[in-house]
């Protein structure tokens, strides 16, 4: 189980993932060796899965982001697996989520511009298997995106 020091450490680390070990220890109010040991334990327990670089796709020329909400034809027993297998092959698909609710799945797709998006949509998305219904939502802005957990 996590104690208060672990939580404080995770809060600080979440807030500033680019801190070096010494500064992180100081902000979490821990001795550097203790801090390193706790981080190691959190990693070993799978609580910290990684510290990842965040890519700005706009800087690479991807201006358009679309959420596709998809309902599958669930009379086909293997609809989910087959759909997921094919969706993974599309490089512009950034996220694949499955849901319990009004829609079955959501794909987050990026494209360079609307023409490029149309091309991906027609040639790659619409050819995915077992789609019963598809609905597109266009991203306008990210207001909050830190995805921090309230630990």
């Amino acid at each position: 189980m996590l104690d208060d020091s672990d939580r404080r450490l995770l809060r600080q680390y979440q807030h500033s993932p680019d801190l070096g070990p010494a500064e992180l220890a100081e902000r979490a109010g821990l001795a550097p060796a203790t801090c390193a040991r706790r981080l190691e334990r959190l990693r070993a327990a799978g609580i910290i899965r990684g510290n990842r670089a965040v890519i700005d796709w706009r800087a690479l020329g991807y201006e358009v982001e679309v959420s596709l909400r998809i309902t599958l034809d669930k009379t086909q027993a293997r609809a989910f697996d087959e759909f997921l297998g094919c969706a993974r092959e599309i490089p512009e698909v950034m996220e694949i989520q499955t849901f319990l609710g009004r829609v079955d799945l959501r794909l987050s797709v990026i494209a360079r511009d609307m023409a490029h998006y149309q091309q991906i949509y027609r040639s790659a998305i619409l050819t995915l298997p077992h789609i019963a219904d598809i609905e597109a939502l266009m991203h306008v802005a990210r207001i909050k995106s830190d995805q921090g957990l309230p630990v």
């Binding site: 899965r49 990684g50 989520q97 990210r142």
Partner: protein, 152 residues
């Protein structure tokens, strides 16, 4: 916008798996000298291609067993300021992301909770009381995967 070569793409891929790797570690994996790797990483930062780092935590292991996506439609468009709504919703700790979208809904929220009763508490006390909130649609997340994206 900058053009990346194959080596830049490989570096991006390595760093999006583990951003804490040193330039010499990256260099060793790709057969580059430490200074050459460092210069390329530096270039990716300077061009804004790498915009930061993200700590990837396992929500379930931290006791957050439920993630719900909420589609929120504002009830009285034009009369409620979008800024007021955005400021209020961003201040809720359980709300991880807020996206402004075009289509069926106005906003898409990602909400974490300990369990379903906890989610109900967040929904009733925090979300439904936001200024201007109208229709809300909920989809409970069952699984999620992030793909590396078109970095080749």
């Amino acid at each position: 916008m900058i053009d990346l070569d194959t080596t830049d793409r490989l570096i991006l891929r390595l760093l999006s798996e583990d951003a804490t790797q040193s330039a010499s570690a990256i260099g060793r994996r790709l057969g580059l000298s430490q200074p050459a790797a460092w210069r390329r990483i530096r270039k990716l930062h300077d061009a804004g291609v790498i915009k930061g780092q993200r700590l990837d935590l396992d929500p379930e292991k931290l006791g957050f067993g439920v993630t719900v996506f909420l589609g929120v439609k504002l009830a009285t468009k034009g009369r409620v300021s979008l800024e007021d709504f955005e400021r209020a919703v961003s201040a809720i700790p359980e709300v991880q992301t807020v996206e402004h979208i075009l289509g069926l809904y106005d906003y898409r929220l990602r909400v974490v909770a300990r369990d379903i009763p906890d989610f109900e508490r967040v929904l009733r006390r925090r979300i439904m009381t936001l200024p201007g909130v109208g229709d809300v649609e909920a989809n409970v997340l069952l699984s999620e995967e992030r793909r590396p994206g078109p970095i080749g």
